[in-house]
Symmetry: C2
Subunit: 522 residues, 2 copies
């Protein structure tokens, strides 16, 4: 044993001195393992934790969010594998080696909390939410029963209540936080199917009718992933055309519903998107709700990205009619800046549809002979077992900021998007795809060499290759991160996403200057 | 504006002084919002973060893991709602109010990292893993593309490689970390179905054959949840009888496969469990693999709980034959003590089955014209979009401890389980369900008033009511947490789970003494 112990270089592993465990009694040994006293004493790891925390504060918080620092220090997979010694071995590493690993992991990671990270539908750092997530990590709660997570169970209930109030469900509803918006959308498909054909839960789809669902061509790809996973089939997802702004065309929806019915298919749900991924478009929920009512279809609103507009009296009109939805997915980890992940799924139903659809009634977890009200044991509403208390990350932040500050943040991000769009229209060599309604600003950069080409296939063919090169250069320089993509027939264009109050209009000017600097020779 | 600003009581929100953003230029105002300079300066939140961190270290780490402190401070839902002011309002709260909320949230939460928390299949605190999870929370990475999460993408690959090596897949395989074992099991069902009938992804199940799957009656409830969600139907999950130790009976499996086939159903997969939830039983994988080979069925091993035995040369025989599985689910957040969640799903296939089964090829995320090897963009293997880099939580800990210390921890937990079983057999009033093979110790406590009753319905009827009362008393006292459940025909019994090196044999003695003290008057 001594030989092994010498390899433990840290102070708190194998430490036997613990005030709560007097070890004066005779030693008990089973299978050659001495069992008296603990072999890990967390109290003695305090020094290590303090050292780690100062690295986190300096490198992962302060430096990562400092606009003067790089957004990323790019290394190719091959280079990074050499820099990081990734292999897992038999022996232990020393505490100082481990601290160096922290530093390296932070150094070569992308700083998504940096003011110039505009690459995804999340960005920035809210210190309140971050600290809330540290508390979760330290306490290791899992949400299934009230007895194991009393505080977080009630916090989830309170946040869902507030979000449903903003949706406009006057009588409340039901809901649950999930590991991301894709999962929330998947729940919607399952619930809609369950309401339509409850027997499928038990009997499966092989004897079921030919179910079909509808969503716009601009929707998030999780809708089609859900259809594949749930056995509905991707070809049974009807893609409804959108208008030039990316909004679903209601008349086209109704046409396709009628056409599906005439072919003997059974429509069961419509997904409307509030804030599409690429264009930031809002489907006309009210008009879609009329059609759903008429045809008795479940209406789900994927407001993962656009839901945040509900906190703004100026912008909530974008989701007009959302109170008529049967279910809503809304991710506070996107525009509201809660730490990842924080994704709410909500249902207007108050007849326990969520529970009935997902329950398996595991007797070892959801005992009915408990001494408290077991309606607080919410775990059987989920298809997960262990589930993180993600609602806490938005609850604490909301408490600290209040709805008014959340509203100001959203209003400011959308004003900033308008400013950027104005600048794009004024600058030579930049071309706006369309006026932003939300926080997505889509545009092309046309290098000087292409500016005299007539609008036509040659120009677009060449433009298509510009954004990937500029992206490569910005990654290698580390000055900022902005996404690009092709879209339908459209050649590669940039998509800027504006979220964080860490961002100023100077950053907007910087983005355009930098794209020009990186691409002017192309 | 000034009126609003006065409500912001914290120092870093709305602070305009940021060294990186000189604001001498003329103000830009859009929609009445001034856009010059950031309105959130993370650098200035340092003091708040330090104060929060010391509360976390004192209350959520040191006090929570101190054996002399309570495991929980029980409050009913009604009481707790009064103690915590949960409502979300328009106005902001002060920094000191927020710090008090941290303290309250921690105080009334269950301390799952306490040495006397034996209630679930996870427990204890590993300081390395906890710090790794703090880094994740501070950096806010999401795993879909290499460009956004370079370090964590490679870390995931390295951990999966090591785990697949322990499984015994000499040529490697493929895999992904998921938000929990239920999700990993769900992936297995979907992959098995995809291999069997790839057209279902596109066409759905309504025109598919009558698919059926097999698992033991002791399996985790996520298998039946997966069957419901995926449209297979819970009644198409055949529950195979287990022997008196909770292990699937292979001959019964083969009988049911033949019987299903004779009825025209199409068997496509078998789930074997390595470490069942209640009894900790290991299905005989090798014999099940023979049957799967013979009938060309996908073999999934749910080793979420029992997989940890693979790190132990003494105990890995429990999973003999696991290298023959087509897929394996294994949660390092359980016995290996990584922070929640840390759940790996692995497939032996090397033909991109995982990717083909789940991909949706979103063009805005998985562009093919990137400047690096896009095989590192692993996100399309998942049904999630945002995904946390959970592998980092076990990687860092594994680096710090080495495989040898992980092995010693597992060996010690299982030796401790044997010690507890011995004590139960020796003590009057305790009755062991069966000798433990793993870390689940199942037993009844028989209060003195019932000890003279003959073995029969009256005794078992009365015993059934004992555990819930003792559980209520231990929760209200806060001295420890041990689960109980009925199981099949068996009356409520306790299920102790032993995991953490923070635990000593003194804690085992304490558990039995305490159960007796709490229940001797019943």
């Amino acid at each position: 044993m001594e030989g092994h112990r010498k390899e433990e270089k840290t102070s708190f592993v194998q430490s036997l001195a613990d005030p709560g465990h007097p070890v004066k009694c005779s030693p008990v040994i089973i299978d050659n393992v001495p069992l008296n006293g603990p072999t890990l004493n967390v109290l003695m790891s305090e020094n290590f934790i303090h050292q780690s925390m100062s690295i986190i504060v300096e490198d992962a918080i302060k430096k990562a969010t400092d606009v003067r620092e790089k957004v990323c220090e790019w290394r190719s997979p091959e280079q990074l594998k050499e820099l990081l010694d990734l292999e897992l071995r038999d022996g232990a590493e020393s505490e100082s080696e481990i601290l160096q690993r922290f530093k390296d992991a932070i150094r070569y990671s992308v700083k998504t909390t940096h003011p110039r990270f505009f690459n995804q539908l999340y960005a920035g750092m809210d210190p309140y939410s971050m600290v809330a997530s540290f508390i979760i990590e330290a306490l290791k709660p899992s949400l299934y029963t009230y007895e194991v997570a009393p505080v977080f169970t009630l916090v989830e209930e309170a946040v869902l209540k507030k979000m449903m109030e903003l949706i406009g469900w006057k009588d409340g509803g039901d809901g649950i936080f999930n590991a991301g918006g894709s999962m929330s959308n998947m729940y919607a498909v399952n619930l809609a199917r369950y309401r339509c054909c409850p027997d499928i839960k038990e009997n499966g789809l092989s004897a079921a009718p030919h179910l079909v669902m509808f969503t716009s061509q601009e929707c998030h790809y999780s809708i089609s992933k859900a259809a594949a996973l749930l056995g509905i089939g991707t070809k049974n997802v009807y893609a409804i055309p959108s208008d030039e702004r990316g909004k679903m065309i209601p008349s086209a929806l109704e046409e396709q519903i009628l056409s599906a019915k005439s072919e003997g298919a059974v429509p069961f749900m419509v997904n409307a998107t509030a804030g599409t991924t690429v264009l930031g478009a809002f489907d006309p929920i009210d008009e879609i709700a009329d059609i759903c009512e008429k045809h008795n279809l479940w209406l789900h609103v994927d407001a993962c990205w656009g839901g945040a507009a509900l906190v703004s009296s100026k912008h909530k009109h974008l989701l007009k009619g959302i109170h008529r939805a049967d279910s809503v997915a809304w991710n506070p980890h996107k525009m509201l800046m809660a730490c990842l992940q924080c994704s709410a799924f909500m249902v207007r139903d108050k007849t326990s549809l969520l529970q009935r659809c997902h329950s398996a009634r595991a007797s070892y977890l959801f005992q009915q002979d408990k001494f408290y009200d077991v309606s607080y044991d919410t775990g059987d509403k989920s298809v997960q077992c262990s589930r993180k208390p993600d609602a806490f990350k938005i609850w604490l932040m909301w408490k600290a900021l209040g709805s008014r500050e959340l509203e100001q943040r959203v209003d400011r991000a959308l004003a900033m998007a308008r400013y950027l769009a104005q600048e794009i229209k004024q600058r030579e060599g930049f071309r706006l795809l369309m006026e932003p309604e939300y926080a997505n600003i889509c545009f092309w950069y046309i290098p000087p060499s292409l500016r005299n080409l007539p609008d036509g296939p040659e120009l677009w063919g060449k433009l298509h290759k510009v954004a990937p090169v500029i992206k490569e250069r910005m990654m290698k320089k580390g000055s900022m991160m902005v996404g690009y993509q092709p879209h339908g027939e459209k050649a590669n264009f940039f998509r800027m996403i504006i979220i964080s109050p860490q961002v100023s209009r100077q950053d907007m000017d910087f983005v355009l200057d930098e794209i020009h600097n990186l691409g002017k020779d192309l």
